[in-house]
């Protein structure tokens, strides 16, 4: 790791003078390390300590020093390694699924959850006591019951 940092720092120092003359804000190695994959270990450069990752670090440092933008550096890497070198999928074609699917999944999940909560809360609502349509007793029993109750009044 120390060797890697030293090598990148050395390259950055060598190219420091021309870098000062950039017409636009420079991108950083740290930023691109999060955007570019190590081709042999399938992690981003900042997570890798492999020789291949170190080689790309040096390439990026040289290009940053030469005032290349992040887009230009990424394009150069794609031209060399193919689209798979970028950590983020593109915004077109089949790759769009990778951007939209998580959003659709989260929204779908939220809808299902909301529906479930709604159903649950409805089930727990106290039911209005219904007015008894009738006592269910025949007329004779009802008359006798009224008489018994009248005695207690």
């Amino acid at each position: 790791m120390i060797v890697r940092v030293a090598a990148v720092a050395a390259v950055a120092l060598v190219f420091a003078a021309p870098a000062a003359a950039c017409a636009h804000p420079r991108t950083s190695l740290a930023y691109l390390q999060g955007q570019v994959m190590c081709p042999t270990c399938h992690t981003t450069l900042d997570m890798s300590d492999s020789q291949a990752a170190r080689q790309i670090d040096v390439f990026i440092s040289k290009k940053i020093a030469a005032c290349w933008t992040a887009k230009q550096i990424e394009s150069a890497l794609v031209a060399n390694y193919g689209r798979g070198i970028l950590a983020a999928p593109s915004h077109k074609g089949f790759d769009l699924l990778a951007w939209w699917l998580p959003i659709v999944a989260v929204l779908g999940g939220a809808l299902v959850l909301a529906f479930g909560v709604w159903r649950w809360s409805r089930r727990r609502d106290p039911e209005e006591p219904e007015e008894p349509a009738g006592s269910g007793l025949d007329e004779e029993t009802e008359r006798r019951l009224d008489e018994v109750l009248a005695r207690f009044e």
Binding site: T40, A52, F59, Y81
Partner: protein
């Protein structure tokens, strides 16, 4: 939950499971494996590293081929390169073709590597690694395949041919491929 909603939820759940299973099967089917010894070497066409144009493996059919996968960032490839160049110069008169395939590498660094080691056999570039890791299942460089005149793999050496064990196997394989 009403019967209709329940049925829809069940269909959706089943659909999700079926989709995941299909994905798993697809993944297993498309997993890259190194071709077996005796199998026909997977065909490919790659850009030349040392000049313009493309080269296909099929164009060398009828000749024994040593197919070496390497990268400029690979340490063992450096010592192996010298041995490969020496072997190339000694075997080329017997009709053996040496092909180098540089993969997952910066073309500029790869060309520097070729120059530094004075390599003269044809060099191809596979920046994306589609052929190297996809068709040939190369896990780490250097790796070498020896292919006979019929286009079949005679040996697969998953390590540097500077290693004494691999060196012996390499020579035996070339002798077999030439025969």
């Amino acid at each position: 939950m009403s019967g209709r909603v329940k049925a829809i939820a069940q269909v959706l759940a089943l659909g999700c499971v079926a989709g995941l299973l299909a994905l798993l099967v697809w993944q297993l089917q498309n997993q890259s494996h190194a071709p077996h010894v005796g199998a026909v070497a997977p065909a490919f066409t790659l850009q030349r590293l040392d000049g313009p144009g493309k080269v296909s493996l099929a164009s060398y059919r009828g000749k024994p081929i040593v197919l070496n996968f390497w990268a400029s960032w690979c340490e063992p490839c450096k010592s192996e390169a010298t041995v490969l160049e020496r072997d190339w110069t000694s075997y080329r008169n017997r009709g053996v073709v040496f092909l180098g395939v540089d993969f997952h590498d910066l073309a500029s660094d790869a060309r520097r590597f070729v120059g530094a080691h004075a390599l003269t056999f044809p060099m191809l570039e596979d920046g994306s690694g589609n052929v190297t890791t996809g068709s040939y299942g190369v896990a780490q460089v250097p790796e070498t395949y020896v292919i006979n005149r019929q286009g079949r793999i005679v040996a697969h050496l998953a390590g540097p041919i500077t290693d004494p064990g691999f060196a012996r196997e390499f020579r035996t394989a070339i002798a077999k491929a030439v025969a």
